[in-house]
Symmetry: D2
Subunit: 305 residues, 4 copies
């Protein structure tokens, strides 16, 4: 399988030159746009991988998957559904354009910034430091990697420049949807976005989602199938920003991208995959990453539709 993965990377490598690395966070603008890696894990098989799959990058929006999961585990489906909606918004992930009417949960979802910021308040913990540590520990657990840490430079860079997220958080406050101090919540959110991972880490996390909360490598159950399906379904309809519909057509399985260049892909009951390629398309998705997943999906019949 490593041969196939290497072949696909080579075939798609030219797409790395067509996208653009994220620049709105200055620290992200420094990465090498030529990086390209993939990692694939299937229960009962050797892991497969190729390219820069051990390169570390920040999770960025991929962490929304973890925030949603922990909010569900801590507060339950009803509270999550009461706070954020489930429909695609038809708008960019950081839009201010909500409605002529008062903002409600129905206008947002867990995969847009407003929704993920709101969900941080549903994670248990005395302080936002503690909430963040619980999120980091869950991520380490699912990734089977206790070494995961935060990229402090990216974190500080996001904190300094994250005024759009501040605007969104104050809007949530103004409409009574969140009640804690905005800077505390955002500090947790910015740290979460700055967790450093590799393709292996993300594929390992994806494997647990694929097996509906159960880890086939060690036989442990981390969360219920019901929550896993909730997250996977959310990824399928909204995980790839306003490119989610297109992704469903061309790739065809639940996935979540981040502007750091990573994509976590879940093939339910089958495998976890992750790709890394930091040059992004117009939606904010890894350009070469999407192409690699499309080629792989076609070759291995990974589409679920």
């Amino acid at each position: 399988m490593n041969l196939l993965l290497k072949q696909i990377l080579d075939d798609c490598r030219h797409y790395t030159a067509q996208g653009h690395v994220a620049t709105y966070i200055p620290q992200l603008a420094k990465v090498d746009p030529g990086k390209l890696g993939i990692y694939m894990i299937e229960a009962g098989a050797h892991d497969s991988f190729a390219g820069d799959c051990f390169e570390r990058f920040t999770m960025q929006s991929v962490v929304k998957t973890m925030i949603l999961l922990l909010a569900l585990m801590d507060s339950g489906i009803d509270k999550v559904r009461a706070l954020v909606g489930a429909e695609a918004t038809g708008k960019p992930f950081d839009t201010f354009n909500y409605s002529d009417q008062a903002l409600t949960g129905a206008h947002i979802n867990p995969m847009v910034n407003t929704g993920a910021i709101a969900l941080c308040t549903l994670i248990h913990g005395e302080t936002y430091e503690e909430k963040f540590m619980r999120l980091l520990n869950l991520t380490r657990l699912l990734a089977d990697n206790q070494e995961l840490t935060v990229d402090e430079d990216v974190y500080r860079s996001e904190k300094e420049t994250g005024n759009k997220n501040r605007a969104l958080a104050y809007m949530l406050t103004a409409y009574g949807m969140i009640h804690d101090p905005v800077e505390d919540i955002l500090d947790c959110y910015f740290r979460a976005c700055s967790i450093l991972v590799t393709c292996r880490d993300l594929a390992r996390i994806a494997l647990v989602f694929a097996h509906h909360g159960w880890d086939p490598k060690n036989g442990k159950r981390y969360f219920t199938p019901e929550l896993a399906r909730y997250v996977n379904a959310t990824l399928a309809t909204c995980g790839m920003y306003d490119g989610s519909g297109e992704f469903a057509l061309t790739v065809g399985f639940p996935a979540k991208s981040g502007v750091g260049g990573g994509i976590l892909g879940v093939i339910p009951k089958r495998m976890g995959i992750a790709v890394y390629a930091p040059a992004l398309d117009k939606h904010g998705n890894s350009m070469a990453g999407v192409k690699v997943l499309a080629a792989l999906s076609k070759e291995l019949d990974l589409g679920i539709f």
Copy 2:
């Protein structure tokens, strides 16, 4: 299995009293809101069914599935993608609220009225009468039912009152997205919406989509797996109006609803299902129908996420 289906219908019957039958088409307002039926087809097994599954109702938006398929078969993926987008719009199916900018394909998709009307122009045929007959014949073929006809009363009722669709069609014309006479296109569209079917017919069609264009009952291939996946993926992200995200969470497979009360459900590689219950929820989806599918999905593990 018929016992299980009957049990689920009984458990969900009270929801028929909570929704409301569509009234914007006067002819639809006359149906009995208490009807409830289900039909399920799996390759190599006896069909299962319960309730009012042989009751006839008009396809309404369920026919968007067939329009998309025939447009893809006749004109190919590239032309379809050039005309209509793939993203959920975040808006009701008949919205006028497109954008501050010029209307483009990116603002619509095959499952909203604007998109389906536009796709009628990509169906082959000398006249719109011929285009419609080709659509009807394809529907008869997939449903394995040569008797399918149009409900002339509903058709005339839609034609008389369909001014929102006229507005959308003239908007498409104004932006150069369609070029044929609006009344001709709409006549084809209104007839298509008025095709009479039963749950059995829809389940039979769904079975072919589930088997990616191949009919396991007679061994015939009607269209390519690539087109089937295209349609199924579109149903999964946009098939249930602006309730598609919620439906993915609670039911979890591709489906298309119509304001006639029918829902066509596709369980890829496994089975075709259809339900009928004409009282609708606020999104325009069959209220009891969605509940029945949720219960069945949970019981038989039909979710694909």
Copy 3:
């Protein structure tokens, strides 16, 4: 005064090269963009004029002033206010982007196409032919020119290509705001837009609005001061499309422009003015015309604010 007018035209003539004549109506695309004229009428003084002030052009949106007036005269303020709003929409004159909610009068106003089309239904007359003749006759009366006629080529051109207006009219129908056959209403509207006038005609009409319904040239009263103020106030806030705020800052009196290149200007209790220059700015207002009015307003202290 003719010397001053000539001087101002000469100073502003270069702006005629910066705008663009309307092209969405093919017939309008044929006019000479270099034309520039002005006509000014004050009670008890000789008329002043310069340039192409006797050139004939179609009223286009300037006729919205007359439609609003006649709807007010025929049906009264209450019925007009119940059908169309009074607020600027913040959007282009032919926008489809109304709201996430049902269309109501509050979303439109008499100076956008949707509002003017709706107001045609409040003009009295057995048929739309008769309504139009009453509108034409009122225009002739205020312009003191019985020769006014319709440009049949422009009328037919608008009728053939006016699909955006068809879309807007069907939308009004769909929301129950108008009830007559769309093509009849639009026929009246397109004819009204195609009435041929000169700067002298428009200045003469403006003079009557300036004197609040009374014609100082012949001592006749055509309508009440209350209706005149209603129209003038509407022009002041919405008369120049989504350039109305800017126009208030730089020119400072009620005015109505049309894509034919004419602008009718009302200086209350003082004078009527009209300019003609068919090259338009991005809002659809006569580019040189606005500049000429700004220079004249500054020179003669015509601003009312």
Copy 4:
């Protein structure tokens, strides 16, 4: 004249029972909704007044008039126009609903919160404390009242609860439209909104705007006619929130309202007026205040259209 004013107040007093005092700032919710006062100043005449015209209330949005004026005086028309637009937005004053596109000055204006907050940055001063003091001193000068101070309770109340304004300010920051610390700018803005005035103070300020920057009571010129017309024209098109069009129809002169219940009215070249009645209509304008001004405008022919 005092008799007439008293009569009009009596006729309109019942409207005070129909509106609602602002509650989003807790401190404002405490005022007596039955208050009603008016003050009118004309050059060369005795002041006229009636009712609670010496009652003190906070300026709230009325201060936008002063912020715009001082920004114009300090930074000039070009810089003001480059930062904020001139068109009515068609939306409520505190909307987040800007556009699908990047926020630009064209989407806002000086009379909505976003615009007024942005304009605070164009007021000269080393610190925002100094900017505010210059604004307060200009207000004292035009009001001819050195005693004007801030209501510290209202100021603190706005600062504590002003999260919508924080959201708007961070949005402006995110789009590069303002560059200073958000809390500094908002502190200046909240203080400005909390300046305590009476009807006499506002009428005195309005008198100077009416005489285009010149104070007929003492013969001093405070600012140029060009700036006065700029402000007056802005009030005429956008001064009464999304009730500005309606106000132009029924009252007909430039005015600015605040949720404190005050309205400042400018009758160009003629007089300054102010009313106070804290119960508001759905747009946020003083309900009885608008009715009083409408009656007065009709009686004294104050409309400029």
